[in-house]
Symmetry: C2
Subunit: 332 residues, 2 copies
Amino acid sequence: MESPYLLFLGDANLVGMDKMGAGIRQWRGELCLGQFRLPGCTADLGLPEMTPAEAQAQGARTMIVGVVNVGGVIPDNWIASIIAAIEAGLDVASGMHQRLADIPAIAEAAARHGRTIHDVRAPTRRFLPGTGVKRSGQRLLTVGTDCAVGKKYTALAIEQEMRSRGIDADFRATGQTGLLIAGRGVVIDAVIADFISGAAEWLSPDADPDHWDVIEGQGSLAHPAYAAVTLGLIHGSQPDALVVCHEPTREKLLGLDYPVPGIAELTDMTLAAARLTNPAVRVVGISINSSTLPADRVEAVIAEIEAETGLPCCDPLVHGPAKIVDRLLEQA
Amino acid sequence: MESPYLLFLGDANLVGMDKMGAGIRQWRGELCLGQFRLPGCTADLGLPEMTPAEAQAQGARTMIVGVVNVGGVIPDNWIASIIAAIEAGLDVASGMHQRLADIPAIAEAAARHGRTIHDVRAPTRRFLPGTGVKRSGQRLLTVGTDCAVGKKYTALAIEQEMRSRGIDADFRATGQTGLLIAGRGVVIDAVIADFISGAAEWLSPDADPDHWDVIEGQGSLAHPAYAAVTLGLIHGSQPDALVVCHEPTREKLLGLDYPVPGIAELTDMTLAAARLTNPAVRVVGISINSSTLPADRVEAVIAEIEAETGLPCCDPLVHGPAKIVDRLLEQA
């Protein structure tokens, strides 16, 4: 996929909808030239505002649809903007379930202008069901009390920290944003249901005994829409180590009338599930997203969580994940 | 799909591989004219042996690929038999993940001879993610300690028993065999991972307060390949009542080096998961497949299970499911 990028945010107006754009901005910011927003958009990545034509004039090569929504369907009112990008000479990439290539007006525009469509969520290969056979090497999986609590960020930060210490570690992407950041992986929520754990097994193959795969978690075992994906990813990943991600001020699951589980409750559920394919699994840390806490409360919340769980707790975006990596290596 | 049927068993030679043919034979036996087996096939549905041409001469209209295998891929050595059926003038139906229509030689033969291909596993509609919103009406879901322990049979038998008592009940198919028997449903292991619980929500919509949906379970929460599908089906079904299905002599999960969990262990796991979307869920009975027990052991095994669980236990194929329906209605 050719860079630099224009990030399209549509009319994103709910918490978490911009997480694809935000992830690319955070981890591949040097490739991001600007953002393109429609009226009503409340998301803001802090990039220069530009239209597709302006972005193309400044050197952009691809417009990325940087939005996620429930169901992954392209709203009708985005189609004109996507076609405008194609007409301006940009390729277009999307992580929605619905493929841009399946929308006739978009497919025709791309053909007419010789541009490339990247539907990155769709699997590009077949998988088999999982086998549960233990693989060599070490694996860390991030899990969460909800969607959009920092599972991808935490995994990327841990990979970076481990590599900086000379440890052989690979981030393993399981979502569309992670895949665009890493350039490889599998969007696990888009595979056929029968093959979730099999796809997770494929993603982190046998490796050297000291190698760590740092696997991006998805959803939450306490989530009535996405727990199935979470469970298949847990079973197929066979994690040796878990990091629990949490947003301390969130009371309801995003968009649903369900409570966010406590850290202890989520930890118990996850360990019980993970022991099926790796009885030695352990939790090595708690990662919080502290952005919604008052600044003067952050240290107290971390101290409370550490006292309750006996585990290191930090916000990797603020403090880095060193504490968690320390604990991981102590026990490994 | 036009009947009568010829059931193709290929070279099925493992326990459970013939379960699609066996289910259709059990529940739609009046539509089954014969079976067609290849050398090496050890499965036997007790139907007259016939080739596609012989079946067609006797009035057969459709050959059903009555076999399931891990991964749902059509073996190369079945393709000639499927083409032979088309050339003999039969339509062909399959419940494999791999679509017959995607195999060029089969698709070409069907086009040339004007025959219809039914790939019944592939979803025919789009789904959305689950919402967890409680629906009206009552729901029973069968769950199991493994695959191929009687979840579909038990659900069909319970629907039949409830209807015979004048209760408004509907079997809800979640697998390819159930779908062919019922003529409707969704093959839940073939939907996109993100939509498992959403598809289950769609399958058993709001209903009258006294209506029962009797939902066919899939896989097992203790199965490293299929637990994800099982969990999404549990969450989306919001069952009020569970029936646990078990094969008392099986020690390892079919085809895997994993133990079959005990009834109590599987019950605890399943209740914990099901309470997320329906805190009032309860177990109303244990269904066993007693076909591998010595005849003089069956009653003792049932008595042991009833003493241990405090729940009615029976083999619906031998005893009918009346005991379980009695308990269900006592508590409803």
